[in-house]
């Protein structure tokens, strides 16, 4: 069992003929993901790693039954790619592209409200349900099938934590990065709602960072609604106030959004916080045996 992606995923790669698109198509195929189609306008009829390429998503969906898409197109065109996927009836769009202006995302989110389409990202590293499917750029070899759900605002920090979990002997049900941008399609709570229903998930790790108040909201939600044990990690304890740390998710505005506040919110609401990635894995292991 898993959330978002799994054996039933029929994946379409938007921007499949690009450098990243083609490389990760190969990686995803290697992992066993059912990649059924690719789209690059004007490249219809070609093949990439044996996957047929179409000019548009609607055509690709019509001919292959794709239900999930992953977007590798440059930021400038990524928003249009999301619209195209949503219009074509894709149920889940995972947007890897980074650098999308926030005001564009505000429109995307509003547009998707009426559609039967969930967006993960942008600036997401993707979603992996170990042993079932890998959608995105997360390195497949660090995952192991298991019962820990992992959701994170980061990319590589997620790998680090997953790697530690796997090395501790545990495995993951589903692991995803929701993206660190200010406006994203899917938030921590959306993921927790699904993890709550997922039989395979016995504990969840939430990897947050400074900026915004998503972690605080999540903490309150966990206390009120979430029955499974949750473990947390917050990056940015040493980040100076009012400094941008690499991406838009990492701005501290005044005291709101500091690591200290978030850790406090986690701890007060029953989320066990690890000081370091290693400690997160250790705490998990102790709990789940």
């Amino acid at each position: 069992m898993s959330i978002f992606v799994g054996k039933e995923t029929k994946l379409l790669v938007q921007g499949i003929t690009g450098r990243d698109g083609s490389f990760h198509t190969m990686q995803m195929l290697k992992y066993g993901t059912n990649v059924v189609a690719g789209v690059t306008p004007g490249r219809g009829g070609q093949k990439v790693e044996g996957v047929p390429v179409f000019n548009g998503v609607a055509e690709a969906v019509g001919k292959t039954g794709a239900n999930t898409s992953v977007i590798f197109v440059p930021a400038k065109f990524a928003v249009d790619a999301v619209y195209e996927a949503a219009d074509a009836g894709i149920e889940l769009v995972v947007c890897i592209s980074e650098g999308i202006p926030a005001i564009d995302m505000v429109k995307v989110v509003a547009y998707l409200r009426d559609k039967d389409c969930r967006l993960i990202g942008p600036n997401s590293p993707g979603v992996v349900s170990p042993g079932e499917a890998k959608v995105g750029i997360l390195p497949g070899h660090i995952f192991k099938k298991g019962n820990v759900g992992v959701v994170s605002r980061s990319g590589t920090l997620t790998y680090e934590i997953v790697d530690q979990i796997t090395k501790s002997g545990l495995g993951q049900s589903t692991c995803l990065g929701i993206g660190g941008d200010p406006i994203i399609g899917t938030k921590f709570i959306d993921c927790l709602e699904l993890f709550a229903e997922d039989g395979a998930t016995e504990a969840v790790v939430v990897v947050g960072e400074i900026g915004g108040r998503d972690e605080q909201d999540t903490a309150e939600y966990v206390k009120k609604n979430f029955k499974k044990p949750v473990f947390g990690f917050i990056a940015g304890k040493t980040a100076p106030a009012d400094k941008r740390m690499g991406h838009a998710g990492a701005i501290i505005s005044g005291t709101a959004g500091t690591a200290a506040e978030k850790i406090k919110a986690f701890e007060e609401n029953g989320i066990v916080v690890g000081e370091t990635p290693t400690e997160v894995a250790r705490l998990l292991k102790k709990h789940l045996g």
């Binding site: 994170s152 980061s154 100076p240």
Partner: protein
């Protein structure tokens, strides 16, 4: 990206928002000339992109030519929060009737653009937000339709009882919203928005920040960048698609990914060390990028040890290894380097770096500890 008050006001003017008569000056003589043009009394305002200018003495009312000179001299020789004042704005003294606050940001939680209005202007809005959030009136723009006229009127009618002023304010709110959207702003703010004794609505101060992700489509905004006011290394990093923030420690960190970079700094601190910087080399890297990163890192003379923490996904460890090798030769790096490279092509990376005299680490814990050890 941020711009100065005077630049923000130029944008405001272009969009039809009333601002005081003003002139930006670099020298005392320019200030004196400007004061004659604008009239005395006038206000002299330091142009630095940090908060608390007023408290720091960076904003002064001059009532005579003598005071103009005095204030100009003092402000132009001032440092505010460590930043030397190189420009001042000479501004018409407005006869203030009332002060309010008007600003626009994106509300992450609601995923919408929000106009914030407060009847108390000229004070720190963050303070009010914390202490009396109910004093801030929020009106959301429709994400597809924009700030609809009735919503803009709602803002105006909240701030002002006089319908004429309220509708003028609605028009200012609509213009601010247009600026926000047209220019990919991340914050646009008038604080204070004043009604003068003649009933005119004037933006007495102006703040305008931009979404860095939107800059690619606004060369005119990029052109407003005050390179002098930004850290040279951070700016250079940005131009090379790197993200760098200088801190005060001595362990230079090179990491891929912002979250992992922060976690790496945190870990160095956790084990008793002091990180010298945040440095994210980003998603897909190349040897050149690693070279550039090291060039920037080494400008900081506090750096004594370099700690590479790379978790290869889209980043390939062999690319990073080649970069380290090249940099070590080209830049003649003598600093000890601790390398923790794991993930995509990690074996290749090891092969490349075998002979390079680096200290290897298998985990980030081990890497951080070794880096700290080397300082002793």
């Amino acid at each position: 990206m941020k711009v100065h008050e005077y630049q923000a006001k130029e944008v405001f003017k272009k969009y039809g928002i009333l601002t005081p008569m003003e002139k930006m000056c670099h020298t005392v003589d320019e200030v004196i000339a400007a004061s004659k043009e604008i009239g005395i009394p006038c206000v002299i305002k330091a142009q630095v992109m940090v908060g608390g200018r007023g408290k720091a003495g960076g904003i002064k009312l001059a009532k005579s030519e003598k005071e103009v000179r005095q204030h100009a001299e003092s402000i132009l020789n001032m440092e505010i929060k460590g930043i030397p004042v190189k420009k001042v704005l000479v501004s018409e003294a407005i006869d203030i009737g009332s002060e309010a606050y008007l600003g626009i940001i994106i509300d992450r939680g609601k995923k919408k653009t929000v106009v914030m209005a407060c009847k108390e202007g000229g004070v720190e809005i963050e303070e009010i937000a914390r202490q009396r959030p109910e004093a801030i009136y929020k009106v959301y723009a429709d994400s597809l339709m924009g700030l609809m006229p009735h919503r803009a009127r709602e803002v105006g009618l909240f701030l002002y009882e006089d319908p004429k002023v309220a509708f003028e304010c609605a028009s200012v709110a609509s213009k601010l919203y247009k600026i926000f959207v047209d220019l990919d702003s991340s914050l646009v703010e008038i604080n204070p928005l004043v009604v003068d004794k003649g009933g005119r609505l004037i933006a007495l101060d102006a703040k305008l920040n931009f979404d860095d992700n939107g800059l690619f489509r606004h060369p005119d905004v990029e052109a407003m960048r005050d390179r002098e006011s930004e850290d040279a290394s951070e700016l250079l990093a940005k131009e090379q698609d790197l993200s760098y923030v200088r801190l005060s420690g001595n362990i230079g960190c090179v990491v891929n990914g912002a979250g992992l970079a922060m976690a790496t700094m945190d870990l160095v601190k956790h084990f008793g060390g002091e990180p010298a910087n945040f440095l994210d080399i980003g998603g897909s890297s190349s040897p050149e990028k690693v070279m550039n990163a090291l060039r920037i890192l080494l400008k900081d003379e506090n750096v004594k040890v370099i700690f590479f923490n790379i978790f290869g996904g889209i980043t390939r460890c062999d690319d990073v290894a080649n970069g380290i090798l090249q940099a070590k030769h080209t830049l003649n790096i003598k600093h000890p380097i601790v390398a923790r490279l794991t993930g995509t092509n990690e074996e290749k990376a090891m092969d490349i770096l075998k002979e390079a005299g680096l200290i290897f680490a298998k985990t980030m814990d081990e890497g951080a500890e070794k880096a700290i050890e080397l300082l002793k």
